[in-house]
Amino acid sequence: MTRIDKLAFGRRQALGALAFAGLALRPGLGHATGGSGTVVAAIDNDPPTLNPGISTDYATGEIAAKIYESLVWLDVESTPQPSLATSWEAASDGRTYSFKLRQGVTWHDGKPFTAADVKFTFDEVLGKLHPRMAAVLKSLGAVIETPDDHTAVFRLQRGYAPFLVQMTVFDAPILPKHLFEGTNIPAAPASQAPVGTGPFKFQEWNRGANIRLTRNENYWDKPKPYLAEVVFQIVPQAANRSAGLQTGELDVVSDFYMPKPDLPRLMRDASLQNRQGINIPAIWFAMFNTKSPVFAQKEARQAVAMAVDRPRLVQQVMRGIARPGVGAFGDGFKWLVNADVSYDKKYPLDATKAKALLEKAGYDGSPIRMVFDAARPQLRSEAQIIRENLRAIGMDVQLEPLERSVMLDRVFAKREFDITLQSFFSAGDPAIGYTRLYATTTSGTNNNASGYSNPKVDELLAEAATAPDRDRRAALYKELQVILNEDLPSLVLFDEETVNVATKRVSGLWSSVDARDRWAGVRIQGN
């Protein structure tokens, strides 16, 4: 795939054709040399910031992943691969990680990248401001040493199995010290006009319209990047994003921006390619408030498990693109699934049994409050189906769709709910995202608000998060499923499957588990 000449020729032709069709992009396009073609990807809105060190916003990550890099990237198996770190060593106790940094890498403004940038980023940005990493780094008591300009050593107070898989550009992007040091980081100019080490440079941000990146001529992995430009076009209307792919106006649309009802149609379209089912594992679940009168009884929770039609949820809520829930951690991490205690075995659909369990739990017909985020249409459908299922066994379910921040307050701070519908994802490792679902917690958003607290579970979760050996961890997670599938503080409804779609002209996409990452190797034909 190194037919640069042919590609360049094709591109000129296509530009002419585009101009003729009245679709030419604005002038300034493609003046970069070396790469060829522009890929247009859709986002839904202006991102809140272009600093991935302080936000986990999806669009921020989508754009920043092309500009910034991190120590490692994850391949489709979620195995760490070298990026800004060329190699690394983990001590056998899992408490020291030593990274050799890539030499000869420069920031887009020409300054050299060194270990000082790494230390600064972790100490001053991620450790303080990153929504996910700050808490992780604090609890690990991470200390970073830089014996020389090209070595970074992380010393942790305790072992943490997912440490490496969390060193990605989404959780641990490396930012330039010389631009952020001494600034108010969220308001710093470089948070709006980022300067990274990645394959593409920030070019301009036309608010409400698009964000343009151009090729980084001095990228360390020559001859990459292959593209001259990447444009993130703001397309607020979901329907236009799928239509845009079909008309060829858009080249790539991430699953996050894809209207679910349109997916089956797009997947049948011969001019499009897609990647289904390879994604950061994410589960959608119903969390019970185990402190509420009804769901304090395990039997009531089990009754729900027997009443809720999970395959129908998959079919009608996700248009068939998901996998019905099998247990406490879903089946996104194949190595930990315990098939012996799966939901299918324990809780086959059975309204009669469910009613009996409900009776045993002493349910008196009082209303059940089901709380969810009103801004997510899928949750609305999900809630309606569950309500229907639970009414069939005699439960009086009242839906309470709430504005997001109100929902967070009601569920995670006040814990005023009976059932809440949520979804969590877990990048690369179950310990990152799923521990919080079952570990005893008393405060904070997006964690275990069920009130379920089991010392045995806490202990197992802690060990599963720190044990360095995969087999040992699998055994621990299987043991956890024995307890959690029985106790059911949360009922996993389904495992999300994402479908990323692109036109067939684009190649080299999706080499990482996160579809947004690794764009240096992306090419486009006839543009």
């Binding site: 329907a239 009802p261 009608q316 229907e388 009414r391 309470e400 504005e403």
Partner: protein
């Protein structure tokens, strides 16, 4: 969305000449509208018997087109019967429309009556308040309030009512202040009647007719507003409403048009009927200003 929508309302006089009912009955459109409203009320009341399905229970037969066996208007994305939903949706729309209009008219009559009867600073203050409410963009405000405080049937009714009364108030005020100077009111006052009795027994009955007209138009406006909120995803999720049905239909327009067509038609026809009825009542009340029929 408020006064300007029904400019004729301001022009309604208080005369209630003889032959009012006869004139009303003679209008074919008015009778049609009345008939349709009756039909909708009947369907709403008899919903469990005429729906044929539980509107909240779906199944695997999702997005069946109209005229499918057992579902003559088709099914929605969750396999629920569109006819059953439309019939049950009538309950919410009618309830919101009628209760809101009742609320709005009650507040309007009290405020307008006080302002018109007493005049002076009472009038000034109350009219300023009502003017303030008229300045507020009703839909935008209702949207923000419901979005922030969470949805619920009664919240929706309350918010719409709070934003709907000024029009009635201004109308009542105008009528009352002109009636106050009428000889028969003076006569009653001279006869020793108190303010309250005077207002309740002599003046208000004479304002009743135009109030009914605005009430009917208020019903129509409230149904539309509720549909708008529902369309924004802010309807009460525990009741089926036409607006919420349209909200769900939005993402399936390409695949299942019937999810949008029938609830929309229901709103349009019901609102149309109340508007036509309001106009016909107005014409019947004011034969001289019959410029529209």
């Amino acid at each position: 969305m408020s006064a300007p929508l029904n400019p004729q309302a301001e022009a309604i006089a208080t005369s209630r000449g003889p032959g009012f009912l006869r004139r009303l009955c003679r209008s074919r459109t008015a009778m049609l509208a009345l008939g349709f409203i009756g039909l909708v009320i009947l369907l709403a009341a008899l919903a469990p018997f005429v729906a044929g399905h539980d509107p909240m229970v779906g199944g695997d037969d999702a997005m069946l087109p109209p005229l499918s066996p057992g579902h003559w208007l088709g099914t929605d994305d969750l396999g629920r019967d569109v006819w059953a939903q439309t019939v049950y949706g009538a309950r919410v729309s009618l309830m919101v429309g009628l209760v809101t209009a009742l609320f709005a008219v009650s507040i309007g009559v009290v405020v307008g009556g006080l302002a018109g009867y007493y005049g002076g600073w009472v009038d000034t203050v109350l009219m300023r308040v009502s003017e303030f409410f008229q300045t507020l963009p009703r839909f935008v405000l209702a949207l923000i309030v419901i979005a922030l405080f969470g949805s619920g049937l009664w919240k929706v009714i309350f918010v719409i009512a709070i934003l709907s009364w000024p029009q009635t108030a201004r109308l009542v005020r105008a009528s009352v202040s002109s009636l106050r100077q009428q000889p028969f009111v003076d006569a009653a006052r001279v006869g020793g009647m108190g303010d309250r009795a005077l207002l309740l027994r002599e003046i208000l009955p004479n304002v009743a007719a135009p109030i009914i007209v605005t009430g009917s138009l208020d019903v129509a406006a409230a149904i539309l507003l509720e549909a708008g909120l529902g369309f924004f995803g802010l309807g009460d999720p525990n009741h089926i409403s036409w607006g919420s049905m349209l909200n769900e239909a939005q993402q399936y327009l390409r695949i299942a048009w019937w999810m949008s067509l029938f609830p929309g038609l229901a709103i349009a026809l019901t609102v149309l009927s109340f508007n036509v009825l309001g106009d016909a009542l107005n014409d019947a009340l004011n034969p001289r200003s019959r410029v529209r029929s």
